[in-house]
Point group: C2
Chain length 356, copies 2
């Protein structure tokens, strides 16, 4: 098969591997891709049912202004500091194409969201992964030393669930000459966030998603916040109509229903504490989480084994079969019932192990 017409960097690279997505009909306790356990707000579902055929027949507003107006009001920032995207993956893609030149360098604390490396590969750029300092602390000096074109910081981080405080991130933004993207996919489950840095620094982009906090992973909607001069450069790079009419209406309705969203966040945070406590009792080492998942070291360290055994019980969690992550499982906080099923399954497996 001739493929000389495919760019060599694309031929050589591996694509991103999404988490397993069983069919919605499959009977599985699905705690592997960090969805919100609650359905979207009833107001979102109503807005979707009310959509007019005319909104689908016509091209959408190219910059999703209906959403930007509401988001500007909720976040208390000017509308021209907001860029809407087809999921925050789209925001990350747009950022990489805007700020990371071919042959340039993308740096990030490592381990983190594995998509960053893929995005750099597609751009034919190099990556500089920099190990987190002891206790998942931000390696500010080592990141600066990379002289990268851009640094991507997932905060809270995945898969660790850990958080870097805004004052430490500020230090990095202040001293860094390139573009600092703060990926806040999980920020709504954290005790603080870095949104204010986007107003303070010229070189900061904050990205957000509706996939987790607003129960809309299937809808694909995210946004970036940065100074308007930065947003206007990113606008040139995005697809002309990157957000469809329904996703804009759904995200807008979700953003307007803050009470509902916060109810779901409160539930997740409460049950996160409970799951962490129970797992600790069972001999797991659980990292302090500011997300809607916990990252926990399996007693005995056989992460892959426990992942497989749980899967046999119909409980799906995420395992990363690489380096220092191998002894861990990343477990999404589900409904109370799902979390109980998880804990029950783990107790069963540990009891069996003990008996053997």
């Amino acid at each position: 098969m001739a493929s000389h017409f495919v760019r060599p960097n694309i031929r050589a690279m591996h694509g991103y591997t999404p988490g397993e997505q069983p069919g919605t009909g499959d009977r599985v306790v699905k705690l592997n891709t960090n969805e919100n356990p609650f359905p979207p707000s009833p107001k979102v579902m109503q807005a979707i049912r009310d959509i007019a055929p005319e909104s689908l027949r016509r091209y959408p507003n190219p910059t999703a202004d209906g959403f930007r107006e509401v988001a500007a009001s909720v976040l208390d920032i000017p509308q021209d500091m907001i860029l809407a995207g087809n999921g925050s993956d789209d925001i990350l893609t747009i950022a990489t194409r805007t700020f990371v030149p071919p042959g340039g360098t993308l740096a990030y604390p490592d381990p983190t969201y594995s998509l960053y490396k893929v995005l750099a590969n597609i751009e034919d750029a190099k990556v500089s992964p920099v190990h987190w300092k002891e206790g998942w602390q931000l390696p500010v000096d080592a990141l600066l030393a990379t002289k990268a074109d851009a640094i991507y910081l997932a905060n809270p981080n995945a898969p660790s669930g850990t958080f870097v405080t805004p004052d430490v991130v500020s230090e990095l933004a202040e001293q860094f000459e390139g573009l600092l993207l703060i990926d806040e996919a999980y920020a709504d489950f954290a005790e603080d966030n870095c949104l204010a840095l986007a107003s303070k620094y010229d070189n900061v982009v904050v990205s957000r998603t509706f996939s987790k906090a607003y129960s809309l992973a299937g809808m694909r909607f995210g946004y970036a916040v940065a100074k308007s001069a930065v947003i206007s450069q990113m606008m040139k790079v995005k697809d002309s109509y990157n957000c469809d009419a329904i996703s804009v209406i759904a995200a807008t309705a979700a953003m307007q229903d803050q009470d509902y969203a916060q109810m779901t966040w409160n539930h997740v945070k409460q049950d996160r504490a409970r799951v962490a406590e129970e797992l600790t009792k069972l001999g797991f080492e659980v990292l302090p989480s500011q997300t809607n998942f916990v990252f926990a070291k399996v007693p005995g360290g056989d992460g892959l084994g426990m992942y497989k055994s749980l899967k046999e019980l119909g409980i799906l969690v995420r395992h990363f079969d690489t380096g220092t992550l191998k002894p861990y499982l990343r477990i999404t906080i589900g409904t109370g019932q799902e979390n109980n099923a998880l804990l029950g399954g783990i107790r069963e497996l540990l009891a069996k192990e003990k008996a053997a």
Copy 2:
């Protein structure tokens, strides 16, 4: 404003300029962005109303397999020859990132869809626009002489509406060493198409959209057809979840309702003949169209003037204020009533001109 962290090619370029999109409430006869005049199939609207909250809460199938299965059956090709995209703009973006290296060259017959140049600019690649031969014939030899990495051919072409027959496109595919993308956004309004070339040649990608033929411009859905080895390279480049759950369900329902779609195409083709005939009677030179629009030279040649005068009458058409396109208007075929409003408006303007 510091912007040294923005890539120089992005700083230097202009973004794509979408056609004007007045609010859906505005009372305007909107014949400027080639939407289908009919609403989406009632079955599409029903499928959207029936969407389950669970489909939105969870991540979608990453490769839109529900759609690919139906499309494979309707088009009579294997499923692994299909890649789904967030509009055909997403397909064009993915193709450019897969096949056009930074510093490489993208060629296309010119004038054509102005997005191609923007996509090359973002990639920091050069463009080789090659003038159409007399009568909008494909300049095969001149295109080959560019030695480009890729050639993008809109067929039927926009804004001319003209069509190159598959045997001539075959000649180009056969002799070209790079990747030939055939952008068939308007193919459903044409007498033939080049889908078979995607099965015949290793280096051909055909792209399609639901924006025009299926009345779903607001929904953002398109797809590519190519040999599976080519599709699997493009899969690495697309965003992980580029198509949202609702767009997949909507596009699948639209694809399944071929009777409805063909009814809309037949109406458009009939009224296209009528509008072309009437415009010709009024002194326009109308190019032979195989699309859902006509490209017509205004009597006297003041395209901009007539565009503005029509806009004052509440009739929006598209004018391109560049080079040889200046004397022309691109006019979408609307409902019978809209087309009558257009013709009435033009008659009124020409009568006024004559009286002055």
